[in-house]
Structures are given as C-alpha cells and as structure tokens.
Symmetry: C2
Subunit: 274 residues, 2 copies
C-alpha cells in the first residue's frame, strides 16, 4: 500500500545496466532517487552489486564494501567490474562507478550462492526486530510531519517509521540515535541481495534522532547479506553508535517479514556535530 | 611485561615496506605472525594501511575495508597502492597484496588526518570497556590453559584475556560469544592507526566462546579508526553476532588506556558450524 503517493519508478529500472563490453556497463542515476540532488549511497552500491553478481557462476553478493569518493549527478554513469578471483565457493570483484571519467564509488564485493534452505545456527547480541506493524507506522513521503518536503526518493519506495522514531520530524529527537520501521519497493517487488544493498542505507541518518545536522555524507559502507529474504517488506533498524571528530558510525539491521536477519551494515559518515 | 615469553619480532619490522616504484612495495610476511601457518588477516591489512598512508598528504587511515582472496604463505609479497582520489580533507586508496603474482588481499582505504585534540561528542549503544585490569588477566602464549600450544603470533604480542573469556581453553565456552582483554605490542610500542588495523583482528575468533570449530577464515574485514590512541595497551572486545549458512559476523571494539573508543571493526568469516 503506497497511500496517495504512487512511485514513478521501480527499483529494477533505476538500477538497470547496459553491458557495453566485458565487465563494462552503462547506467543512469535517476533524478528521483536522490536527497537534495545527491543520489542515495545504497542505491549506487546496488548498481555495483548488480554488475558484480552478473559476472560469473555466483549470483548473490554476500559482502560489499564501498568507499564514496565523489557524489555523481543524476544522469549517465559508467560502471566497471573486474573479477579479482573466481573461486569454487565464492568470487571477489572490484567494481567502480564513474561519471565523466571521474571515479565516484569504488567497491569490493564477495559473491557466492546463498542456500535458500540454510537456517540460522546461533545468535547473540542482536537487537530485537520490534517495530510496530507497518499499519501502525507513519510513511515518510510527500510532506513530512514537520511540514518540510520529504526527499524525492521517499516517494519512490514505501518507507514507514515507528512513531517513536519520528521525534526528529517535530523537533523532538529522542536522543537514542535509533530509527525503526519498514521498507517496501514499488509494486511490492521482492527483495534480493542487490536491493538489500540499498535497504541498509534507505533510512534517514540515525543521527536525526540525536540532533539535526544537515547532510550526513557516507564515507564508507559495508554490507553483509546473510540470507535470501522471504517475500514482503523488510524491517529496518538504523542505529548511531559514536560521534567523534565530526564523523559518526551507524549500524543497520534488516529483517525479512518472518523476522529473520537478512542483511546488516555499518557505515562511517561525516557530520557537522561536535 | 611479557612474562617469560619474549617476542622475537616487533610490529614495525614485520610490517616494514621497501618502496620499489610509485605505489609499489616489497614486504615479507613473517612466519611467526601466523596461526597454523596462515598469516593473521589484520596483520596483512596493516601492511596495506602502511602503504596507503605513506602516499600523500594524509597520514591516518580512518576507514579500511579488506576482502581476503587467498592466504599467502610466510615470505616475500608485493604490495601496490593506487590513489583513487586525492581530496582536501581525505584521500581514497585501493591497495593489494600479492604473492607470486596472485592477489591475496584487496582493500579500499580512506586516509585523513586525525585531530589529536578532537573529543567524542555523543555515544550510545556502545558496550562497556570493562575487562579487568591487565594484571588480573591471563596471557595467551606458549602453552594455552588447555595444554595445547598457542599460535606463534601469541608470543609476538602481549595478549591477555579476562579469565571470564577463557572458558574455551578448558572446553567450557560461556556461550555468550564474547572475548575481552588487552593487547600490547613488543617493547610497548605505541599504537597508531596502522597497528590498530591489526588490533581489531588480533584476538581469537569470538566463536571460540560458543563452540570450537577449527579455522575461522576472515572473508571481509572493515575497520574504522576513530581517534589517535593514548600511549599504552589497548582494551579489546571481540563479539560474535550471528552464525548462519556457515558464516559468522563479529564486531570488535578497541579502547585506549584512558577508555576512549579508538577503533571498531566488523568482519564476516567462514565457520564450520550449523
């Protein structure tokens, strides 16, 4: 359910690649998948994940580490992907997104085949997946609860947030540095390892729940995809850990509809606090 | 204090690089910095960090993401480091460690200048740095409490563990998946961003505190260096989060002697459990 804001795009289209040679692709950064004109970092990493997972016998990105060099503008970009090692159980790939010959995002990716029948064996120290059901959450789209316009990308997905996470929108962040909620793609397209690379960076910065501080540019983003998600929306927890020297690290946990942890991430970002 | 086991090497020597051309270095993987004949992953990443931080005007690695392709043998290796972008406040570097022409470790690194006067601004969700003082911990070196020989690398550093973390050595892991303790370098050499890249991977796998499962090879390791450490030993917490599909993710926190968080890391490793 997308309320009254119907997405103009879908994830498969805005991350589509056109192969132009071995390991070389053309793509387009969509102007609607942006925040203040800058494309979302997870969206760009998902493009690199699509390039990396189409190269060999392995289909699922299980680990991706991106360093962000320069934010591309919406429009044409080129992607290169080089297999560093093609092993039996996994391959490693170096992928790069460029615009006008300038490197924008470099990533290393490990690609393997996730077993749909694998079961979790042990866990500890994981936070609980305890956002209220999507119907009790508030969609971020169009006009945010503060009256300010939400970024265009919020109309292109369905991102609903736990009301307890929404203090920032009315100038009363909780101070916990935690945002919880749910994410669905247009047409309820099922999540896969490529779109999970976007899911871990889809939420607003968890620092919104501490103090509003303008743009929080991602410097590094590392993602592990742990399992193939069940069909349906995913639950997301974005949590800030430490603000020091005008940088913040945030962790992200993504569970599928059944409550299974399917992806986790950590990122380091710049922030004008302190 | 190194008890009766005196290190035969020091960190600066075993990570020394000889420049052979622009961004090209020769190095030697030391046979004593190994576990069952395989070099420690953080040790190899520290070599890449040394290469990356010597290239330009920025001196401190603040983010490093490594993917492990092939474990090199002790002996000669070659390292290449390419500056992807040289910015005003930070540079990004792609570095690679090779042996006999075969890529072994690829890493992306962001290098900046850490301000020695920066102060932490906010934190939440960080575990406490609550290992007992080093004098109440047990050194892992020589013969472990189980009677089995400790890996050679344990004689080359001073790694002392909280007795509460040592259940694994006598066949009684706590089940919490947590190891706590302290780390010092030979001759009490001060830690810096390069040696912190080693510190985040110096401890045994936290899965030892769940169930012994043989070799736990690191697939990916991401490290953030948050501050320049005060002189002295560092406190380390290594914690497992989820074992699924024969892979485990572990997080690591490193505090300096004053209790300031100076480095944090996450890794994905293979494991024969489940």
């Amino acid at each position: 359910m997308f309320d009254d804001r119907v997405p103009a795009t879908d994830f498969a289209t805005v991350t589509a690649l056109t192969e132009t040679g071995p390991g070389a692709f053309d793509a387009d950064v969509h102007p609607l998948w942006t925040i203040a004109g800058k494309p979302n970092g997870g969206y760009l990493l998902a493009m690199l994940g699509r390039a990396a997972s189409g190269l060999g016998p392995h289909r699922h990105v299980i680990a991706a580490s991106a360093h962000y060099l320069h934010s591309p503008d919406p429009g044409p970009v080129r992607i290169t992907a080089e297999v560093l090692r093609a092993g039996r159980s996994a391959s490693q790939v170096h992928a790069r997104l460029m615009q006008d010959g300038r490197p924008c995002v470099d990533a290393l990716l490990t690609v393997a085949n996730l077993d749909p029948d694998a079961k979790p064996y042990w866990d500890a120290g994981l936070p609980a997946a305890d956002a209220p059901p999507p119907g009790q959450c508030v969609r971020l789209a169009g006009t945010s609860p503060s009256g300010a316009p939400a970024p265009p990308i919020m109309d292109e997905v369905r991102l609903v947030m736990d009301p307890a996470s929404l203090g920032f929108a009315v100038g009363r962040p909780s101070g916990r540095g935690e945002l919880r909620g749910w994410l669905a793609l247009a047409q309820d397209a099922p999540f896969d390892p490529v779109s999970l690379l976007f899911a871990v960076d889809a939420f607003p910065p968890a620092t919104f729940d501490i103090e509003m501080a303008g743009w929080v540019p991602t410097l590094e983003l590392s993602v592990y995809v742990r399992a193939l998600p069940a069909r349906g929306p995913v639950q997301v927890l974005q949590r800030a850990q430490l603000v020091d020297a005008q940088r913040v690290d945030e962790v992200c946990f993504v569970w599928d509809r059944t409550g299974r942890l399917v992806a986790q991430a950590t990122q380091l970002a710049g922030i004008r606090l302190g």
